[in-house]
């Protein structure tokens, strides 16, 4: 039914354009005709806008996967994801190293960012006075306004020295008996820890703002009921407020995770770009996004390498689309 109407709208295009001509250049157009005409043209214009947007997005997604197709055909999708060798000369591509780099970096980022973000969100919505909260909130939103490339050079020129000379030796000497805390490369501060620290600062405002909204939307009655039963403030937050806000907080974490995975500029500068799977949190690695950025400039005109790099992008994109679906499911959006 709807489709038929839409088809009619498109057929109307010819009619309307001739009517537009008649209205503006014809001699005695009726007022009511004019109104109906405007109404129909507005309808058509908005419909065309929507079609254009839908076309752009579908073309964009299709373009990425279509350009990546040759590499999936020649390497096999599974093989492409689970093998290690990446060689332009031999035309062999496997991206396990890059996937591992991205995943490890994202996990470390979340371990650092999630607790601080959630505690800050609790502070802003439950503990601070409205006045204090509204003083702090703009500053947290300010963090969003710092471009990722700026975080990149900040990490590179300011934090790298501190990490190399102070944080990593201390961490290694305290926790070095656990294999993942060995300082594998003492001459450099670059690595998962540095990249994840900077990423944690970048995703902090995202997670905090969305979780705070979720916590705020828990109704006051629930809190009062819990408090009147003798629970103290923390017990109320822990047992009543957080469970009620959990789907919102999960959405916030997923969105933060997507931002961390898709980040490019800062990671190119900070992860160390060494083609190994990081063996310790201080070891260097190579993320999917950095591989694309570093190599695409030299290889975009060659069929095979281009397909391989688009293959990385396609895998990354597919993961992100999956997370979008998850966050929509959690958010319960329509």
């Amino acid at each position: 039914m709807n489709d038929k109407r839409r088809l009619l709208q498109i057929i109307n295009l010819a009619f309307i354009s001739s009517a537009v001509f008649a209205t503006f250049f014809g001699s005695n157009a009726q007022e009511s005709n004019k109104r109906a005409l405007y109404n129909r043209s507005a309808n058509l214009i908005f419909f065309v806008c929507t079609i254009v947007v839908a076309f752009i997005v579908i073309f964009f997604i299709g373009f990425i996967f279509y350009t990546a197709l040759p590499v999936f055909q020649s390497q096999g999708l599974i093989n492409f994801i689970i093998t290690d060798e990446w060689n332009y000369g031999k035309n062999i591509y496997g991206i396990r190293t890059f996937i591992a780099g991205t995943v490890i970096m994202t996990v470390v980022t979340l371990i650092m960012a999630v607790p601080i973000s959630i505690f800050t969100a609790i502070f802003l919505s439950e503990i601070a006075s409205p006045r204090l909260a509204s003083t702090i909130r703009p500053f947290i939103e300010l963090l969003v306004g710092i471009p990722s490339v700026v975080y990149g050079i900040f990490g590179l020129f300011v934090l790298e020295n501190i990490f190399q000379n102070h944080i990593e030796p201390v961490l290694a000497s305290l926790l070095g008996f656990i294999p993942i805390f060995v300082d594998v490369n003492p001459q450099s501060g670059l690595g998962v820890l540095l990249a994840s620290t900077v990423l944690a600062i970048m995703v902090f405002p995202t997670i905090t703002t969305i979780s705070e909204n979720a916590i705020r939307s828990v109704s006051v009655e629930n809190r009062h009921a819990s408090l009147s039963l003798g629970a103290n403030r923390w017990e109320t937050i822990r047992n009543v407020v957080l469970p009620a806000a959990s789907s919102g907080i999960m959405t916030a974490v997923v969105l933060g995770m997507m931002r961390a995975m898709g980040e490019t500029m800062a990671i190119v500068m900070l992860l160390g770009n060494s083609k190994t799977i990081p063996s310790s949190v201080m070891g260097p690695g190579y993320a999917m996004t950095s591989k694309i950025l570093n190599d695409i400039g030299h290889h975009f005109s060659e069929e095979g390498p281009r397909a391989a790099l688009f293959g990385i992008a396609a895998v990354l994109f597919a993961i992100e689309i999956g997370f979008v679906a998850v966050s929509r499911y959690l958010g319960g959006r329509k």
Binding site: F60, G145, I146, I153, R238
Partner: protein
């Protein structure tokens, strides 16, 4: 009892601690960037394009102008389409499943990693369409950024339109107004502040983007110039400046301090970063002002 109290104070202390840590980190970062930027930051640095300064680096006027051109142009491209789409989705579309899948598409677009959009721009706009866009150019960058900010404007416009009270529209229909008259005279005026907020936010979003811009707009040491010149390889045999020319932008200047440390010193990178942050902050402040005025009015 005591144990419960101790636990409460411990966690509440943790909350305070997190908030203080976050605020300190922000001031630390901004302060350090300003401090590092200070040696290079002077009027001459801001007003000289890179090609007129001695040696490499030394000026960012070209990048400032480029950033402004890129973000304004992409916002001009994106706004009408995005707002039109938002109106259609909120007031015309009836098929619930179609609306749902369309909103999923918009979510996917807004979650797209910028590098994926960047290589799309590089292959499609810069490489395949080079006879129209002129390869790495202002127009390629602006179109790629348009796709980046479409969902930002679309989402906020949809929210703004959704928040217009149904009673107002019903009253308009009851007076015999057509759908277009209701939307243009009732819905849109009531949703203006929300829509404008989204548009202004998206200018900032476009200004700070780097991965997309480095792969589509390239970099030029020269100020964008205006004019038309003959160029055989292009469509219609002409090259329209600055649209089809390479263009510089601040995020790329910042990136150069990492990529070519011998050409752009860290301090100059930080100075460019500082200017970029100030631009984005001013834009955010404008958004805040719009929201604040709406709350009062």
């Amino acid at each position: 009892m005591n144990h419960r109290k101790a636990k409460e104070s411990f966690y509440i202390f943790l909350c305070y601690f997190s908030a203080v840590l976050a605020t300190l980190a922000l001031f630390g970062i901004l302060g350090k960037i300003a401090l590092e930027a200070l040696p290079s930051l002077n009027l001459e640095f801001l007003l000289t394009p890179e090609n007129e300064a001695e040696g490499f680096g030394g000026g960012i006027a070209n990048a400032i102008v480029g950033t402004i051109l890129l973000s304004l142009l992409s916002t001009i491209f994106a706004s009408p389409i995005a707002v039109g789409t938002a109106i259609y989705m909120q007031r015309y579309a009836k098929n619930a499943r179609l609306v749902k899948s369309f909103s999923f598409i918009i979510d996917v677009l807004s979650g797209t990693p910028s590098i994926v959009l960047g290589i799309f721009g590089l292959m499609f706009l810069v490489y395949y369409m080079r006879f129209i866009t002129g390869g790495f150019s202002l127009i390629s960058g602006a179109i790629a950024l348009t796709i980046l900010i479409l969902p930002v404007i679309e989402r906020s416009a949809e929210e703004a339109i959704k928040s217009v009270p149904a009673e107002l529209e019903d009253a308009s229909y009851a007076l015999g107004a057509t759908k277009w008259e209701t939307i243009s005279k009732i819905t849109l005026p009531n949703a203006t502040t929300g829509i404008v907020t989204g548009i202004v936010l998206s200018i900032g979003r476009a200004a700070e983007e780097s991965a997309v811009v480095v792969l589509t707009a390239g970099y030029s040491q020269f100020m964008p110039e205006f004019g038309v010149a003959a160029k055989e390889s292009m469509l219609f045999g002409i090259r329209i400046s600055p649209l089809q020319n390479l263009v510089a932008s601040l995020p790329i200047t910042v990136y150069h301090s990492f990529e070519f440390p011998s050409m752009v010193s860290p301090s100059e990178g930080f100075a460019a970063a500082f200017v970029l942050i100030v631009i984005v902050m001013v834009i955010n402040a404008i958004t805040r002002l719009i929201v604040w005025r709406r709350r009062i009015g």
